[in-house]
């Protein structure tokens, strides 16, 4: 019983979460017959709503309806994990990141470090500030553009692709990290200087 309570009140360690995520790869293959990958669902949504006359969206998205169902599932999983079963640490510093990260972010002006994401940057109120608007709109845009250009995201390349020993995925993952390092160490400090 204590173990069960622990499982719901504390963040799951990497050695529990990682293997469970890894199991999604064979589970999807064996039960659905499809390789694991999330970002192609963005393409399906475009194909289903505003395909225009673009060749890239000119396919029958209903053939890939499993991806939309999977994405809906991820959304429902997030709801169950946080809204129904509650935050890992209600009322406290919700995310157990290291002290080093906390002090780095504090130095950059992230003074409120409660919640799953910083509300100074990622909230409806923050959308009215330059850093918040930039992070959500430009950040989201780059994720959606980049993942389709690279033909995969963290699930399709970093997990499935590397597990399948694909050279393409190794190159893409190196790209992901290079971009992330540039954003974190160069772009973000400039942006956060504009926090209200």
């Amino acid at each position: 019983m204590t173990a069960a309570v622990d499982l719901l009140s504390r963040p799951w360690p990497w050695y529990v979460a990682g293997p469970l995520i890894g199991l999604v790869v064979p589970a999807l293959l064996v039960w659905v017959g499809r390789p694991f990958g999330i970002s192609s669902s963005f393409r399906d949504v475009c194909a289903a709503t505003i395909p225009g006359k673009l060749e890239y969206f000119g396919y029958d998205w209903k053939e890939h309806a499993w991806r939309l169902a999977f994405s809906a599932g991820v959304l429902a999983g997030g709801f169950l994990a946080w809204q129904v079963l509650g935050p890992a640490d209600p009322g406290g510093l919700a995310v157990a990141v290291s002290e080093a990260t906390r002090s780095d972010l504090l130095a950059l002006g992230i003074t409120d470090q409660t919640g799953l994401v910083p509300r100074q940057l990622l909230s409806w109120e923050a959308l009215g500030s330059v850093p918040g608007l930039f992070v959500l709109v430009i950040g989201g845009f780059l994720v959606g553009f980049g993942t389709r250009w690279a033909d995969g995201c963290t699930s399709g390349h970093a997990i499935t692709g590397l597990a399948n020993l694909q050279l393409a995925s190794l190159i893409a993952v190196i790209g992901f990290f290079a971009g992330g390092l540039i954003s974190t160490h160069w772009l973000l400090p400039i942006l956060l200087a504009g926090l209200p």
């Binding site: 990497w14 990682g18 017959g33 991820v74 429902a76 995310v95 409806w124 959500l136 959606g144 954003s183």
Partner: protein, 145 residues
């Protein structure tokens, strides 16, 4: 052929489990992604690394025992094409990484965060869809190889 409904139910259930783990392990958190890119904890590396190892072992077992898909089909993940300078992978990957580093969420976590109550990520999702659409429009003019 297994029916569309069964495919949808199975996908939904697996997505639910995935989203649940993403939130419970804090992999959806902007703070965790910052911590990862600042090399200040093993947490995210442990998650991704062990997921890759488990995925790799599973694929090996599937090949070893010739496990079949729901319609009795052979299961193989066709490797993505490489060649030339592989521009699409490193350049597209870097663009994705630039976004990931500031938004702190990749596609799976974007969905999971919306479900967890961070509804402002609907804006990020809308922007990501615009990005995908623009890629579709510019595809012919972008280098891929």
């Amino acid at each position: 052929m297994i029916g569309r409904r069964r495919v949808a139910v199975r996908s939904l259930a697996l997505g639910l489990a995935f989203g649940f783990v993403l939130v419970r392990s804090e992999a959806v958190s902007w703070y965790r992604i910052q911590e990862m890119f600042r090399l200040q904890s093993f947490h995210m590396y442990g998650i991704i690394g062990s997921a890759v190892l488990v995925g790799m072992a599973s694929l090996w077992l599937i090949r070893r025992f010739d496990t079949r898909g729901p319609d009795g089909e052979a299961l193989e993940i066709v490797p993505k094409e490489t060649g030339g300078r592989n521009t699409r992978y490193w350049a597209g990957g870097a663009v994705f990484g630039l976004g990931w580093g500031i938004l702190g969420a990749c596609p799976g976590p974007i969905y999971a965060l919306i479900g967890s109550g961070q509804t402002v990520f609907l804006i990020a999702l809308g922007s990501a869809l615009c990005g995908t659409w623009l890629y579709g429009a510019l595809r012919e003019r972008l280098p891929h190889r």
